[in-house]
């Protein structure tokens, strides 16, 4: 019984849950050939109560689809970090864009729906497992 519980505890705390410590360099399609892709909304990240985030969040509309770009970001690592578009600074109503790909660099997250950015006005880096906000950017 103790062995069983111990094995589970170890499995639950592995680094599988952490974000890769790496710098990505993802670019919008056509960004290297066209200079007229402009952000629809943007904001700079600030630290949340449980982590540190620097860099910018920008919303692009390319070929009829919104994309959230995290540009030149540096994010303190943590378990189960997700990228949200949220109506509130502390997320209650949000769109989960998936797990944070890496703790640094330039990253792109496809937004499957067409959200109203007057409602979803924050980009968040959020630790889902512990409900801890690492950082936020108000999109304007």
């Amino acid at each position: 019984m103790v062995v069983c519980a111990g094995a589970f505890a170890v499995a639950g705390c592995t680094k599988n849950n952490a974000t890769p410590d790496a710098r990505l360099n993802e670019m919008l399609p056509g960004a290297d050939t066209s200079s007229n892709i402009t952000a629809k909304y943007m904001g700079n990240f600030g630290n949340g109560p449980f982590g540190s985030v620097t860099g910018a969040a920008k919303i692009y509309l390319v070929n009829g689809q919104y994309t959230l770009a995290l540009e030149n970001v540096a994010i303190s690592n943590g378990p189960d970090l997700h990228v949200y578009l949220s109506k509130e600074l502390q997320p209650v109503n949000f769109i989960d864009l998936g797990k944070l790909k890496a703790t640094g660099g330039n990253q792109l997250y496809t937004i499957a729906s067409m959200p109203d950015f007057t409602l979803y006005k924050y980009a968040l880096i959020h630790c889902q497992q512990y409900n801890h906000l690492f950082g936020s950017a108000a999109l304007k």
Partner: protein
Amino acid sequence: MAASAQQSPLPHINQFADGAGTIGSSEGSVAASYVHNWRLGKKRKWEAGLGLRYTGYFGTKKDFRTAPGRLARSTTTPFIIVFAGQKTENWDTLTVQRPFINSVNLSVNFGYNFNSKWSGGFNIDLIGFSFGRKSSAVLTSNGITRTEPAASTPAFNVLLTGDNDYGSLNSEFFLKYKLNDRWGIRAIYQFYFAEYTTSTVKQTAPDGTIVNRFRNKANTYGAGIAYHF
């Protein structure tokens, strides 16, 4: 030779304390129980009785589905509900980030003694109470995600068969091998109904019902050790 051929029947009473642990996909449990069984029949092969069981269930990022039987299944008729069709169109998902439930329940136990060493059986919790850690959760409803900051486990458990059940209830199928007169070991398949309720965000079912009960049916496997009195 004659003595071994004519074995004495098993005692009328089978009392034991048992500890068990099981593990599944991102979830597990520990259990401790006391069982008092009466052996039945001329050869006392069958046994049945009552027990008291503590179960601790824990996991990481587990999905709990809409719990009320009326919404989850096509019928709520007791026992029939176990085999009834699933109304998945009514299901929403509450992903509980760090579920941890302690439940203490009265259990009913059934067993069959194949011989003096080997036996098998089934047990299931009937009624009791639960307590546990509050956990943040994410309710996904029609593609919309909302944060529940403090999902909690309901305090009361009762077996009403299938999705009619309330609360958190343990059940096991097991095979036991007696090492000697006192000690036995078990191989266990466990089916655990775990329930969490939300307080801030709630599901609105297609018929307008407001739902705050969500259930995870955990399938886990494990082992146990029993001490016979």
